[in-house]
Symmetry: D2
Subunit: 390 residues, 4 copies
């Protein structure tokens, strides 16, 4: 899948880094392979390291494995070229093939696969950002769909509150940040049955949403003023066209709004007279529904408006910002060994998002899955779901 996602990209496209938060497509391909090489293969006798110089340049942030190459300079790596990275992937894939059945390695291999899924989503959101900065506005896939569906009425899930069990438990895979499973107390609340749409969000804008500080968190207002935000990221001037992975397209009022920061999500909710759900409220409702929705499908790399056949729309389309900071759960213990740096060290200054997006592989998501980004981040497929006290 990773190679397939990179296929529409030229060598130049794969090399670019358009902001420090993003990485080149080629780097994503190499780093996920590096993860298998460093965590699974390197400790084993008999494995031949593909190129010892890759140890640093494709290390993301594992200080336990030495000093990683500076994140903001990944775009400087014109060498190794795309061909070299592909050879690296083949070398490591071949070595991994022999080990897939080794039960002692199962946990690490499983982590490596889930890790690669995370980077598949990032590869798409990162190239979308890069293309958006090119005045030619290239399309990742020019042949994408152009449905103009109508919006659905906003309905609500009711929840009666009380003690809810939160987090992952049991045999299936989960990240360390989903554990330990623990009880939380909830008050009765309502959770919107669908994300906020572009049509909804246009009303917020029309009502002066970006010019009225009373709806905004202080940091958000300061940032929005400093960067002159007037609409979500990727809305083109005029406000009726948006840039997508399928190129510039007319804005579809029925589709979920994406590429908003937590600050915009919170301001929208305040304007609407509602609030954002906590991550616990979201999970309490979502765990009662099947994991079904518009997930990664290379033919449609954009959220979809609701269709009659959709059931609940709790998963897919757009990650939704919750009103929960990314704090550790009670009893949190990082993965052991080198993977201990995977999640825990990022547990400050970030907000939790839930539910997956149109760029998330379907089998990557669980009701207990916690995604997290700084409240200022806009380049992910991040959207809004409302809640209110019952």
């Amino acid at each position: 899948m990773s190679e397939r996602l990179a296929a529409p990209l030229s060598h130049e496209d794969q090399c670019i880094q358009s902001m420090p938060d993003a990485s080149p497509a080629k780097w994503h391909l190499a780093h996920t392979t590096w993860f298998f090489e460093r965590f699974v293969l390197a400790p084993r006798a008999g494995y031949r390291i593909f190129d010892p110089r890759f140890e640093s340049i494709f290390n993301s942030y594992y200080l336990g494995l030495g000093t990683p190459f500076t994140r903001a300079e990944r775009g400087l790596l014109t060498r190794p070229g795309v061909e070299d990275v592909m050879a690296y992937r083949r070398h490591v894939d071949d070595a991994m093939r022999d080990l897939l059945d080794d039960p002692k390695l199962f946990k690490l291999v499983e982590l490596g696969l889930h890790h690669e899924q995370q980077h598949q989503e990032l590869l798409l959101t990162d190239i979308k950002h890069a293309f958006s900065r090119n005045p030619l506005l290239p399309a990742y896939d020019p042949a994408g769909p152009l449905a103009m569906d109508v919006s659905s009425r906003l309905e609500w899930f009711e929840h009666c509150g009380g003690i809810a069990a939160i987090g992952h438990e049991g045999p299936g895979f989960s990240f360390d940040n989903e554990r330990s499973r623990h009880d939380v107390m909830l008050r009765p609340f309502r959770l919107a049955a669908r994300p906020v749409t572009c049509g909804d969000y246009l009303e917020f804008i029309a009502d002066g949403g970006y010019a009225r500080p009373e709806f905004w968190l202080s940091d958000g207002w300061a940032l929005a003023q400093r960067e002159d935000w007037q609409a979500p990221l990727y809305w083109l001037p005029g406000g009726r066209t948006i840039f997508t992975l399928h190129g510039a397209r007319p804005l579809n009022p029925g589709e979920p709004v994406v590429h908003v920061s937590f600050y915009e999500a919170a301001a929208y909710a305040a304007w609407a007279g509602k609030r954002l759900p906590t991550e616990f409220e979201w999970e309490a409702v979502a765990s009662e529904h099947p994991v079904k929705g518009n997930f990664l499908d290379p033919a449609q790399l954009h959220p979809r408006a609701a269709r009659a056949e959709d059931g609940s729309r709790l998963f897919g389309d757009a990650w939704v910002w919750t009103r929960s900071s990314y704090d550790p759960y009670p009893g949190f213990r990082p993965f052991s060994g080198v993977a201990s740096e995977y999640n825990g060290k990022f547990m400050v200054g970030q907000m939790v998002l839930r539910g997956g997006s149109c760029a998330t592989p379907q089998d990557h998501i669980r009701p207990s899955y916690r995604n997290f980004f700084p409240p200022s981040a806009r380049w992910q497929f991040s959207g809004i779901r409302l809640a209110e006290d019952a």
Copy 2:
């Protein structure tokens, strides 16, 4: 009390702003008076505004009252001078005197008094920062004490977990961020009976605490490297002398360590094999103890080592960083009217601190009191209290 705290300062001292987070002493004096003028007096017929130009320059962040003067430029206000600010305070105090018994105003006046207490603490921490940047290291009060008490053994409060009621309820004053009172689920835990001392912290430093990324949150490590942190703020080179409001003094191993960021607190706890308490854990224990401790006393503006006569040391000396982000409580509703901007708009990107410090007026503190600062902040009297799972 505010005037008394400013008394040791020259006019020049009162005008200085040594970083954007801090404010001049004179500005604190004027702003707390401004709060009474704008919130209580200005809406009343017959009140004469002291100087209409003060409306903007002494507004801190109330966008509902117009555009405040740029925060980072408060140090430019050599005019109005200290004498003018004192005249402003007298003018407003006189007008307030007639209204103190008006029951309709009671809530606002009470808020104004608690507001002024907060700025009394800030006046001290801000001038401490300013003096620390002066190569002459002036002392706010050169006559302060020089006790060298020994440290006490670390003991623990045990808590059996279960449902705990958190937040403020009832007739006494509280800020809106302490409400609504609600239940949380706790697991059994232990809370340290005293804060971490300088002596404890010296061991962390000696063991390479500032050079070992495995203890640190990622943002904290990056910041510590960028700013070359080797010890808490105000520890002078050599590590055996610290700058205090009483001037440079030998470090007392028995006294609580202060002027650490959340990042340092979390790194220390990881190094110690413990963790920081959540704000709920702290409150569950603290609400069972009397509010007693080393609070604001102009004769001793520094944390004290434990003495035999001390009982529990849950309050005073040092605010302690909790492992809780500053999120809204369930059912949170901001103050009504112009005071709605008081707390709610800051509920992102900050961590909760609890318990008050040696610079906090004693009657300002409650077990439900939530202080909050960004995880990078070091110029408050912020310290560390350990916790662990039972």
Copy 3:
């Protein structure tokens, strides 16, 4: 004179530093005294250093005398207070009094006096900047004049070109940067007989001067866009009022325009179809005229419109930017000893200004005097004089 210039300032006013390029008034007073102490008194047996801690904090940039206190932090020095600085001045003045007749010290004492004159001008331009940043717009001297004279017609000095002797020679004082006196070749040219006036400059603005890149140097255009320049520094919104040391005053079309950068001066000249003179052209003309003009007079701290009794207006009112970079003259040799850092190390990236201003002591100026500032500087009394090829 220095004390007299500081007299209208409060202690708070004297402590402020409103940008890194400016210094507090108190610091100017102390630094000029420091210059005498370090350069003249300290090397002499028997002199008692006033306070050894002043050696660093009042050192401007003499690396040969140790590491100076960080320039941008001079505003942090609330201590030593104004009273302490005055005591410092008295201490040094007393010690100097006994040495004034010592012929061996004459050169250094003379340099110290000229040095102090330079700081008298800076004291005024620095406090003007500080007051301009205060929303109350305080006046240094509220009682200043308010003449609204008419502008004079623009006339020209003719010069026939050829070999001109440039620079200082002979017994009188000069800075090292005015030497050695050397010949330059000039082509025939004309030099404007008066500086450009505010009225002239208003035409440039009205004709879109700040919006037409064709008149601008590339760096200047970029800076003007970045900082949104629409008029000279200190012109208040609306363009008909300017902030002066006498407070906000109606703009007088007849008075020389000041507080323009080199970039604006060059753009104005291009718009006018003329050019700026080289420093050699200016000196070739100026050396044929008496040094007469509107120099420092505490009763009028602003350029004056021309009056009938004025003769040539080559000196005073406004320093004029020349089209000459501040390069060393042939045979340039820095002062010997610690004063070697006085001028030479700044000979890159700056432009030469000539003629003195309304804030320059009259006996400080010579035809060969070279002032210099970066092309972006606007807070000096810097203006424009046109030239053209004959």
Copy 4:
């Protein structure tokens, strides 16, 4: 030649921009073609614009032709791809072929060819910078030579001073900044007969050159401290290996030192007890010698140590920094029309370099040729030539 210089580069290499001052190789190829299209072809009836979107993205700084695409973002242009740029070049080359003999266009075509030569040098210095930032240190041409010649003794040209004619005159091509030809007065001086070598420069380093402020201009010292300069750019840690377009190579003491800033050149000269020549001194000597030296030769992209058969070494190998700011000559008039922005608007804040380098096409250089860069620039082949008063 341009295509030939790009030939060793992958598509990824050609897309990269490693700092705002540098441009991608692909962009250089497109921009030089754009120059012909916009300046020569576009105004002519019948010419078909290749792609109207290129008008902005390949405009460097000609504001008279609309707003150029942001310089610092040229690396974002993964599209148009290298293939597209090559097609663009063919399209324009074909159209130009028909016009080469048109005498009315001769001046513009000639300018376009000289313009392309300038970008050939920049293509090389820019990719050198990009490769130097890659931890793999790729070689542009791994097969380059590895001569270790010995240094030659330093000899001097004598010049008796007097009136010298400077600048270009006559039928051959020159840039506008070389005109008008005019007389300057020179004092007797000596000019070094060869550039300063790496061996010479090692002595400066060994003598603490980078740690002794007395040799440095103030801005240079500040920059060197801030960026921790210890050697010229591209000298690898240890100081005995340098990064070249032929990869990392042992430092050759006999070869001219390059990649020094003006600040380093001036500091070296001060340490050596000499000075840098003015641009007039250099030209007065150089105009008496044939234009001969080590110019652009793709087989050797690095300065060469002196060989017996070399005559005077005034040209080639390394541009030499002069002690002359880049000011306009008397009578300077920019090119007419759109080319007026070519040179004049950059005449502030830069220093003049003379003589050409190992990356300059030989027929591009004249004795009157003025190159210019800011004093901080190090990524060009910039070196040092000493001078002294006779």
